[in-house]
Amino acid sequence: MKDMHPRKLAAGVVVAVLGVTIGVALAQTSTVDEIAKYREALQDGNPAELWEARGEEMWTKPRGPKQVSFARCDLGMGPGVVKGAYAHLPRYFADARRVMDLETRLVWCMVNEQGMSEADATKTTFGGPGRRSDIEALAAYVSGQSRGVKIDVALDEPHVRDMYQLGEKMFFFRGGTHDFACATCHGDDGKRIRLQDLPNLTTVEGARKAYSTWPAYRVSQGELRTFQWRLNDCFRQQRFPDLVFGSDASIALTAYLAGRANGASFDAPAIKR
């Protein structure tokens, strides 16, 4: 060190700094590639199947105070019909006089047909350690029965169209402590949160890719998550007030995003990091 020329030393430092910059750039692209590889490797054994199996069993079993199964629950395709139902939700239900998404409709069936109280039916909307969510299992089963079906939300139906338009307004509405809108993160190409690429939901391809892959098994949480959960967590990340489960606000946003995804082949429950 003693006889090292100061200029040489400086040159060495410059090279080292350059090396770091190149290294970071390389690491970013290869990280995205590696995440893609990781997702591919996961496709094969998607634990969402375990939720689907549990949901299927629950669908046929008598439940609640009235001991009635979901055989009479109408998801819009007729009582008890599950095949393809998710691809047409949210939709307007005349018996409830409301536009409903799947999760809201499941709760409605639990309350109105199985005789459960609203509080009991929505006790565990999102599962966690030691508390499993019936709604997540049922949503996994029902949505799985729409795999490969084209998403077709009836935007020409006046109630659904109203919800779609309200959802669109909400999507671009800025608020909260951070003056955030959904569009702040999901309105441009190439945005990220940490290492996660964010879909641009204002484009048809972005909306299709995102909406057709929920519900999904989240590896990092070890849980199957529904679209209601996805919206709820987006609200939390935006520092918005809590999004009430099954509220008109949640259904409006779902109607907007599902409507944007119309025509896509449904491909869930998927698996995400």
Partner: protein
Amino acid sequence: MADPMKIRANVVGDSTEVKVLMNHEMETGQRKDAQGKIIPGWFIQNVKVTHNDKVVLDAQWGPAVAKNPFLSFKFKGGAKGEKVRITWTDNRNDTRTDEATIA
């Protein structure tokens, strides 16, 4: 009782390929809950697979295996219609056995 496994077994060439999804919390025993108390370890310790009463896989597992484990493996032989039997046992001595028909 533990929830059922999901098993798929298919003949591939002269082997049988088995894919299993198991329902298990797989708690490591290293994590703490919201109160700061350690969550006790709870994980599958042994996985045994038999085909025609012959053991084709006998594995010892530990807390490093993730929640809801997925296991994929091949063994020589096996024909369509034959059975594959899988049993896991965890550190609480809880156990679950499921069977699948090779397709």
